[in-house]
């Protein structure tokens, strides 16, 4: 065996001389280049796709090596997932710290017991539809991002497969519904969310009332307008990237899908963390806020506290006397009269 190998090796030694004589063309002077080296150096490159032909015809079948896949894998596993987890944790921590520092913010002078209409029925329904869709989409999306790390140890691999499958199905079918809902929300709320530079800047400088002095606001204050525009603009990014991903039937390449997956993921994390702030402010942060979107009516003292400019505009037109807590006799300016029993 060994002698045979040595014999073969000896023959190999002879061949370069043979080649020089055999390939006696003007180009072959000296070292003969392996015609395969150029080809395989190209194939080995990391920065370009090697495209050939194939009898198999799925999109991308003629690509020998897909170089973008590893970049996406590394980004998703090593960067996106850990950073997203950190950002979400910090967001929750921020809300928590704000609660500790500021506590529950009461209506100054307490409730008046008199209600005025703030949100119409269609505005409420649209808000809650969008909100519930968003919650389901966010949770199912987070399952796809973090489920492998956190939920498989809890549920086991087989059960989690079922959960994730249901989650993905919900996510894919509710996504387009969210598109419609968000559009309706935009149309209903955009008019009062147009920035008013002077008033909004003043509100921001006063921290919305956090830094002591009272901050005036119209129907929506600068904080709410900020959330609206985040929801619409980041939501638009989510919607567009989501639709590209949800309908991969238009010949999208792998690189396209990977790009939109990254965009969708980053936008989703931004939206989710921003929603922590909105949800907290809309529910537990302030006295008298949650009932407004729940019923459509707000307490007049709450309105004076937080949206005084709006209250001045609407106080004579939108009082609903049937919403009054006290059934006292009505006067001409019944909206402004304090009910005697409230301090």
């Amino acid at each position: 065996m060994k002698t045979l190998n040595l014999l073969l090796l000896a023959c190999l030694m002879v061949i370069p001389f043979q080649v020089n004589i055999a390939a006696d063309t003007p180009e072959n002077t000296g070292v003969v280049q392996n015609p395969g080296t150029d080809l395989w150096r190209q194939v080995r490159q990391r920065d370009m796709e090697i495209v050939g032909t194939s009898q198999v015809k799925f999109p991308g079948a003629n690509v020998m090596i897909n170089v973008a896949g590893q970049e996406w894998r590394e980004y998703r596993v090593l960067t996106l997932i850990p950073k997203a987890g950190l950002v979400i944790f910090l967001g929750l921590l921020g809300v928590f710290v704000f609660r500790i520092l500021r506590g529950n913010i009461k209506i100054s002078n307490g409730r008046s017991g008199i209600k005025i209409l703030r949100f119409s029925q269609i505005q409420r329904y649209t808000h809650w539809t969008t909100a519930i869709l968003f919650i389901v989409l966010a949770l199912t999306g987070l399952i796809l991002l973090f489920g492998r790390q956190f939920l498989i140890p809890v549920f086991g691999a087989d059960a989690f497969g079922g959960i994730a499958s249901l989650g993905k199905t919900l996510h894919d079918y509710l996504g387009p519904v969210f598109v419609v809902s968000l559009t309706v929300l935009f149309v209903l709320f955009v008019r009062d969310n147009i920035p008013s530079p002077k008033a909004d800047l003043k509100w921001i400088m006063r921290g919305g009332g956090l830094f002591g002095k009272h901050a005036s606001a119209d129907r929506f204050n600068a904080g709410e307008k900020g959330w609206f525009w985040i929801a619409i603009l980041v939501g638009l990014v989510l919607v567009i990237s989501g639709l590209v991903l949800d309908f991969p039937i238009f010949g999208q390449s792998r690189e396209t899908m990977e790009f939109y997956l990254v965009v969708h993921g980053i936008a989703a994390i931004i939206m989710i963390v921003a929603s922590f702030g909105h949800i907290y402010m809309g529910t537990a942060a302030l006295e008298g806020t949650f009932e407004v979107m729940r019923t459509g009516y707000c307490d007049t003292n709450w309105a004076k506290d937080h949206h005084d400019l709006w209250y001045e505009k609407v106080k004579d037109t939108q009082v609903d006397s049937s919403q009054q807590v006290q059934s006292g006799s009505e006067t001409d300016d019944g909206a402004q009269r304090q009910s005697p029993d409230t301090a």
């Binding site: 080809l39 020998m64 894998r73």
Partner: protein, 197 residues
């Protein structure tokens, strides 16, 4: 323990697609799914080469790394398999794979692709060996019978090799030595090498 790999000898592959056909036939793979394919570069020019590409059963498999439900596993022989019952058809493995090995039976709206299917090295799946469930989902299990993948067995020029990585590299090394001049001089591979005796 063996480490199972494929190796396609580009000098021998003649793009006959017998490997593609053998695989599709043996495992009764549905329309549109192609576990194996032959890619030809520099088609029609000098230096044309073809490679038969399927799952390469990577040691650090990108498909396994990105799967959101962790449905991949590696056998003791180094074969990368997955569980179709857990698979949710998200497509991430297809995006990450450098070779485009994962395939899906559907391309429908709402991102519904069906369960991922790919080359199993003819080693079936997590179901019991040789059960009808295993055959329906993953195809034939030749490894459990002690046989090698059918694509390599059917290769008309023995370009496609499949088996233990050490053995494959041994075979290929011998080929390179025996070929000698063919890689250095186009067209010599099928002529006799004249030795200067």
């Amino acid at each position: 323990m063996a480490r199972m790999k494929f190796y396609c000898d580009a000098e021998r592959c003649i793009e006959c697609n017998a490997c593609v056909t053998a695989c599709k036939n043996e495992h009764e793979i549905p329309w549109g799914v192609n576990r194996r394919r032959v890619v030809t570069i520099r088609d029609g020019e000098a230096g044309e080469r073809s490679l038969s590409i399927a799952c390469m059963h990577c040691s650090d498999a990108p498909c396994a790394a990105v799967c959101p439900v962790n449905c991949f596993y590696t056998t003791n022989d180094g074969i990368v398999l997955h569980d179709k019952d857990i698979c949710i058809g998200c497509g991430y493995c297809f995006y990450a794979c450098p070779f485009g090995a994962p395939q899906f039976p559907e391309a429908a709206a709402f991102s519904s692709r069906g369960k991922m299917d790919k080359c199993t090295f003819c080693a079936g799946g997590p179901e019991a060996d040789h059960s009808s469930d295993e055959y329906k989902k993953y195809g034939r299990n030749r490894i459990a019978e002690g046989k090698l993948p059918l694509c390599a067995e059917m290769c008309s020029t023995r370009a496609l090799l499949a088996g233990d990585a050490d053995m494959l590299s041994d075979i290929y090394r011998k080929r390179v030595i025996n070929r000698g001049a063919s890689v250095l001089n186009w067209g010599v591979s099928y002529d006799k090498i004249k030795l200067d005796s």
